[in-house]
């Protein structure tokens, strides 16, 4: 029997820092001369739920996810299924996924009954994760300053995700489109530090904050 929970209002971890506007190097002959090379924003509020089963239960758990929210995990490791604006399923480990979507319902409540029979863990991370959206033709250069993940489009194009350290903060990075656009999931407690690192790293390319 599914319980319905009333969701509390969510407060962004970036309220003190996120100021929309255009910053950094723009208009000269430098890297920012053709407009901001990087656009940075927060995806907020987001529902993020981790689901996990035992190794060997991947197919059955995938079917249960599809029944519960309408999409199946992508085949293989470090892959994403679903749209940016709907529910998405991101691989984070063997038989372990994040389910994420812009908050519109009790996602944990929708998943918990379906996942219960697998004996694994279903954990609501919505209050514990901050999701960044980093986009633009210089977005890869910004990532390269702070992480060792190979984000070249030949190995990390749309549909790929990976966990690594970004400016020494543990993150999950997903490539959304060929702009390129990246979604970055970080622990809420590190969000402000990571935001400041991303802003600093973006300044030389011209930065638009939405």
């Amino acid at each position: 029997m599914a319980e319905t929970r009333t969701l509390p209002p969510r407060r962004s971890a970036l309220v003190s820092a996120l100021k929309p506007g255009t910053f950094g190097t723009l208009g000269s002959d430098g890297p920012g001369s053709d407009g901001p090379g990087v656009t940075l924003s927060e995806r907020h509020p987001m529902s993020v739920v981790q689901v996990e089963g035992r190794i060997g239960q991947e197919a059955a758990l995938g079917d249960a996810l599809e029944t519960a929210i309408g999409i199946h995990p992508a085949d293989g490791f470090n892959r994403v299924s679903g749209d940016e604006d709907g529910p998405r399923i991101l691989w984070v480990g063997p038989c372990r996924w994040y389910v994420a979507e812009p908050e519109s319902r009790d996602l944990y409540g929708a998943l918990r009954p379906a996942m219960g029979k697998f004996g694994g863990a279903t954990v609501d991370l919505s209050s514990g994760r901050t999701v960044f959206r980093l986009s633009g033709h210089d977005a890869r250069r910004v990532l390269a300053k702070g992480c060792s993940l190979d984000t070249h489009s030949s190995t990390f194009g749309p549909g790929a995700c990976g966990q690594t350290g970004l400016f020494h903060v543990s993150v999950l990075i997903a490539c959304v489109d060929e702009a390129p656009t990246y979604e970055i999931y970080a622990a809420r407690g590190y969000a402000l530090s990571l935001w400041e690192s991303l802003v600093d790293a973006s300044m030389e390319y011209g930065l638009r904050v939405d």
């Binding site: 490791f77 470090n78 984070v92 480990g93 063997p94 060792s148 993940l149 990976g162 966990q163 690594t164 350290g165 543990s170």
Partner: protein, 100 residues
Amino acid sequence: MIIIDCPYCGPRDHAEFTYVGDAARTRPAEDASQATWFDYVYLRDNPRGPHLEYWQHSSGCRAMVKVLRDTSSHRVLACGLPADQLEAEQLEAGHLEAGQ
């Protein structure tokens, strides 16, 4: 710089991994002697050359990875899941001498 080939994530910088320990130890039977257990818990060979180790992909997928690493050169000779028999494969490839 050590690059470890995670069976799930592919080649990644060793900064994403945490060293866990010697992967050549075999857990004794529950009723083995105290001396056997002492050996298992505390004593390590610390070889110079190929060494079988567990590393955890702690900043990545969190999986345990079995790594055959040369302790004198830091060269990673093979990577796999904990149940994989890396030593047998490497013996065949001539990277290891029997008895090591």
